[in-house]
Symmetry: C2
Subunit: 587 residues, 2 copies
């Protein structure tokens, strides 16, 4: 079975050395979140993920969630683990103290999201959507709803879901058919079928709070007629306790390639009592609060699975002997495969992506906090635009790279990687959902290009490119080769961006045909940017921790030599246009 050691050292390095962001530091409420506190949290988080959660990965894969007599049963061990998980308060980590939360910033809670994803994505999903629903309600619900539902959700006694997809619509929610009929008492009766609902039912919590997109009977067709409703599995009694069953039932659960421990449900709503959240016909906007944060977390899921895949590959490479290395240390027999160039290349490729991405996501977590909590509205908005820009990038890049990394992990394990015993192939299967759900990676790329580059507040991508250019202007001599490399690729990104802007206006099909590659190029530059921040500290503080910083420098070096130049081919191919794609006649 795979092992896992939470990368607390790397996380603390980011928290200690890369936290120094002026605007983030200005956020009043996080001033007391200091290094000691975070270290304590991460140490405890490491314990619970390594000891309690990790074994659930195999159990969920071997004994998937099932639907029995209309009730979803989670895999063996999930119930007990969930109980301990909420008793220790892990769901409340980033929630508002007003509702019982611990009020930790995303800079901390994202580390925990990563650890949980490494240990068991299936288990994680049972609480992840609770946080999503919590965030959505926190922002859009009225006080009464918040006071009624949030404390129980923060406690983990009630969970949350996100009900968007229907048989006819995944990407395109304008086609949505679920109906909401308004009642005299101000509530609605919701009817329709939702599919692919993660944690749509389970046996872990007393109640499930579904956030459902539906169309009010007098609302227009398309996306402008969609409202958001809170639909509890059990309607509440007047005193707020769990009352009778609502009109929501589980039709079936999906038989999937991976994340088998997670119940993916078909939910049938049949005159279910629902409460409208936020303004009528603006449901999509409200849901997007939830979805955008979720998309980033899906990226973090990819990062987490990448980390555990890397760790186990490294261990295996140090134990497995096969073939002679060029500089063989053995007289008879074979060398450890970690002595082979190609295995080392593969491991470093994984590592350089993972650590770069972790640094990038730390930066993004800071931006999220600024966007939510800074006192200056303008600064808030600027950060919010950056977060919007980076959301599809992180979602797609991290999950695509996680496919590459989990695949490399299988290759390193050879035939053993394909068998179930080693648990390596499970990383690959579990991660395979991440480029699909919360909007496929192509949907992310279209979102990036057509909605995020330029918005009503201005030229967001231009501001971002300027920010990167300014920040990598480091005076350290040792950083020069890295800066030169990054600038070279930043220039390609600038050219690509200009090309994109022109095409978005004059030839959107060309832009569309290039958007996946554009996302990749932007993502690689962003990772390079994050690496440069790591390098700046590594050179400056080198003598204080030589082993650690030398490792960082060498890992960055690999990234700049072997990963960043992928930009070249992407740029060349993407800018060939789309006429020949659109004119093609598919028989």
């Amino acid at each position: 079975m795979p092992t896992y050691n939470a990368p607390v050292e790397d996380m603390m390095f980011l928290f200690d050395k890369l936290r120094n962001n002026k605007k983030y530091n200005e956020i009043e409420k996080y001033k007391e979140v200091n290094s000691e506190l975070v270290k304590d949290i991460l140490d405890e988080a490491a314990k619970i993920t390594q000891n309690l959660i990790l074994p659930l990965a195999k159990s969920g894969d071997e004994t998937p969630a099932v639907l029995e007599n209309g009730v979803v049963r989670t895999p063996p061990g999930y119930k007990e683990a969930y109980q301990k998980f909420i008793e220790d308060g892990w769901i409340s980590l980033s929630c508002d103290p007003k509702y019982g939360g611990q009020g930790m910033p995303k800079t901390v809670s994202t580390f925990f999201d990563e650890m949980l994803s490494s240990a068991s994505l299936s288990f994680k999903l049972y609480s992840e959507l609770t946080i999503g629903a919590y965030n959505c309600l926190l922002r859009h619900a009225d006080e009464e709803i918040k006071n009624t539902y949030l404390p129980k959700m923060v406690e983990g006694k009630w969970s949350g879901t996100m009900c968007l997809t229907e048989p006819v619509c995944g990407t395109d929610l304008g086609l949505l058919k679920t109906k909401a009929v308004d009642q005299k008492d101000g509530t609605y009766k919701i009817s329709g079928q939702k599919i692919f609902i993660t944690s749509g039912d389970q046996d872990l919590t007393e109640n499930i709070i579904h956030l459902v997109l539906a169309r009010s009977t007098d609302s227009p067709a398309g996306t402008k007629g969609i409202s958001l409703f809170l639909v509890p599995k059990f309607v509440l009694n007047k005193d707020g306790t769990v009352g009778p069953r609502n009109g929501v039932s589980t039709g079936s659960i999906e038989n999937k390639m991976g994340i088998k421990g997670s119940a993916t449900c078909v939910l049938n709503f049949d005159d279910a009592v629902g409460y409208m959240i936020g303004p009528k016909n603006k449901g999509l906007n409200s849901m997007f609060t939830m979805m955008n944060l979720e998309r980033i977390i899906v990226g973090i899921q990819g990062l987490g699975i990448s980390e555990i895949a890397y760790q186990n590959s490294l261990t295996y490479a140090k134990e497995r002997k096969q073939g002679k290395a060029f500089n063989s240390k053995s007289n008879n027999g074979a060398d450890f495969i970690i002595d082979h160039v190609d295995i080392r290349r593969s491991l470093l490729s994984m590592k350089s992506m993972i650590e770069g991405q972790r640094a990038l996501s730390f930066w993004l977590s800071q931006q999220i906090e600024v966007s939510l909590n800074h006192s200056d509205e303008k600064i808030k908005q600027e950060a919010s635009d950056l977060v919007s820009l980076m959301t599809p990038v992180v979602k797609s890049l991290f999950t695509d790279n996680a496919m590459e990394i989990t695949s490399e992990a299988m290759q390193i394990h050879g035939g053993y990687g394909f068998t179930k015993d080693q648990g390596i192939e499970q990383f690959y299967r579990d991660n395979r959902i991440t480029p699909i759900y919360e909007g496929t990676n192509s949907v992310q790329a279209a979102d990036l290009v057509f909605r995020k580059l330029i918005n009503k507040n201005g030229d967001v991508i231009e501001n971002y490119l300027k920010l990167v250019k300014d920040e990598i202007n480091i005076t350290d001599k040792k950083a020069e080769p890295f800066i030169k490399q990054l600038n070279y690729h930043l220039d390609i990104l600038s050219k690509f961006t200009d090309w994109m802007k022109e095409k978005i206006k004059n030839s959107p099909e060309d832009a569309s045909g290039a958007c996946n590659d554009y996302l990749k190029v932007l993502g690689l530059v962003a990772t390079g940017h994050a690496w440069l921040k790591v390098l700046e500290v590594s050179f400056k503080e080198y003598d204080s921790n030589k082993g650690f910083y030398e490792d960082k420098i060498q890992t960055a070096n690999f990234f700049f030599n072997r990963v960043l130049p992928r930009i070249e081919s992407s740029y060349i191919t993407a800018t060939t246009g789309s006429n020949y794609i659109m004119n093609y006649k598919f028989n």
Copy 2:
């Protein structure tokens, strides 16, 4: 369930229009294999794969092969299908008429290998190794063995296996421990454990002929002490009929990510009677006859799975409505997703790889036939060198691209692609073994760079580059942009080759760190070369079949614009050397 239509038209195009290779035409025994005959065979092959074999894919995945009371039971339906399969003579397709075969060239049998792989790789594997063992015995066994075993194998009543891997050795066969003790009667007693043995046991045939690598008690350590033995599951009676059970038993079968219908066995040899095949201590050479052909067929497996993944994606894209296209044809509601640029890009990417690879593999099949059957020894040797060069390329490139293609197929299907109902995710899981078995793709890359570029007969890669340069020198004006593109990338390949040659001599670690990328670059140029042969015909014969040839030209155009330029990034990253990889200290 996925559907499949064998691409007979494309195959017949290759056979009719690209067969015109001087040296291939000089092979006496294939002069009568004409277009009508091949068309008849392919039509029948299409029927059996579409109707009989295709349903076995799902059955094998849902009800995997099992080991019961020491006996492997194949999935439901396999037995009946296998019976029909051998009755119709499909195993004998490419075998020598002397032993009951139909004597078809590889140019034809490879098409059938592709179809079978599309329909059900698991089912295919039960007969594939029989052909492999047949080829090995045909080349290396004495007349008595051949007369005794080959007719039954060609008939399909007995099957074959390839027993190389042991717990301590997969890639590195020098570590092999299985022992062979010679007996007074000239036979050997074989003892040891073999793992990952495809079709090591099954309930389809009367007997199983294991080809086993083992070390004779007086042989040296390492690869120079390995001999090849024929070890039947049942020892034969004097009259050649199946006699008593030999000392071979199935210890267990693997629980795998994919190809679950195929039994992957642990075989225990315990004083099993074996017959030495070929010269003592030269077993690895003999086995390589089998392995090299197998490696090409593994590439074809990837091609076959790619084809069915593409076909089902295309169908889905024409049926699924989601989102508005830029040039929307619908007033209300959504367009078919095939109208979206990015979906079209994805489909064309698949198609352009698949058809280019099919053309390349047709060219390679001709070279194989020349290498085996030409009357001129020198011509034979030249062809043989080209086949050696291209074997690792086809194995790795086709299987890696098949991972990309099956993954794209999942993305096109969205959430449905991740569920078991659609059968799309199975392509992905089944194909995932192909970059691993028969030598991982990294092993192929090392084989290419360190053994195949230059051999005792000379500078093979130089000859190949010259051949490509000569052959793409077409005078058709319309071909010019393609030729220009290919020449540009051929130049990069030439530079990369020079760099490689220098590094192989002076800095093998640099060469090793670059070999995966080198293989990819060579593979893309080879596919471009194949496409140019297709284009030559397409331009010349355009008016005779406009629809078909226009399709070819447009598909090629996509390949040259969007796939071929991947070469750039590979070249840049690979030639950054390996010092920073070798000096890295993995903690």
